[in-house]
């Protein structure tokens, strides 16, 4: 059975800190890994990663995938209170569009 595990489950830091969120996966015929940010109800798309070693970057957020070790990280630099949210990663297998989600990391940024 496909499985995605995130760590830590919860993280509290001060504004300005840099955080690294982890995601490991076991997905049959792995195709891609997606990161989402969930603030209220709707997860909003952040990144999709398919190739090892290629960093995806958007502002202060970046992510990279290691297909050999089966994990991905999401980095957020110079954190702001608006970064407080649950961050979800999800794996997708080849030939399937459905996503298998991890438990999420609840990130809290204190001023």
């Amino acid at each position: 059975e496909d499985k995605v595990v995130q760590s830590p489950l919860s993280l509290v830091v001060h504004e300005g800190d840099t955080v690294t969120l982890n995601c490991s996966y076991e997905v049959t015929n792995f195709r891609s890994l997606l990161w989402y940010k969930q603030e209220k109800k709707a997860p909003t798309f952040l990144f999709m990663l398919t190739s090892s070693g290629i960093e995806k970057k958007s502002g202060r957020l970046s992510s990279i995938l290691d297909k050999k070790e089966l994990f991905s990280i999401l980095n957020i630099t110079a954190t702001q209170t608006g970064d407080s949210a649950i961050y979800l990663c999800a794996g997708r297998g080849r030939g399937a569009q459905k996503l298998v989600f991890g438990q999420g990391t609840r990130l809290t940024i204190n001023p």
Binding site: S32, L34, Y36, K40, K41, A42, P43, T44, F45, M48, L88, A90, Q97, K98, L99, V100, F101, G102, Q103, G104
Partner: protein, 114 residues
């Protein structure tokens, strides 16, 4: 990206009743999905809504409890039938955007069953 709307955004229902949630996408999409997120939990896929045929349900979810319709490429409904308090969750519709090879989510429906 695909813009997805859902209604209602929230509802409070009595035990034993049913609620139908509607999902509308602003463009034709090949695949639509329904997820559930129970309090404090991550997202769990309920089913894939197939246009013109019966939905494909994941293990632990059945058509009698969660009937799904998808009459065309932009619209789907999920009904939560004979509700109990354990059905209190956020229900999320999502759509696969083939051109971007990714999946987008609607704003969700927060359901509380008393």
């Amino acid at each position: 990206s695909a813009v997805i709307s859902q209604k209602p955004s929230r509802d409070i229902c009595q035990r034993g009743t049913s609620l139908t949630i509607q999902c509308q996408v602003d463009s034709q999409v090949t695949m639509m999905f329904w997820y559930r997120q129970q309090p404090g939990q991550s997202l769990t896929l309920i089913a894939t809504a197939n246009q013109g045929s019966e939905a494909t349900y994941e293990s632990g979810f059945v058509i009698d409890k969660f009937p799904i319709s998808r009459p065309n490429l932009t619209f789907s409904t999920l009904t939560v039938s004979n509700m109990s308090p354990e059905d209190s969750s956020i229900y999320l519709c999502s759509a696969y955007a083939g051109s971007l090879d990714t999946q987008y989510f609607g704003p969700g429906t927060r359901l509380t069953v008393l």
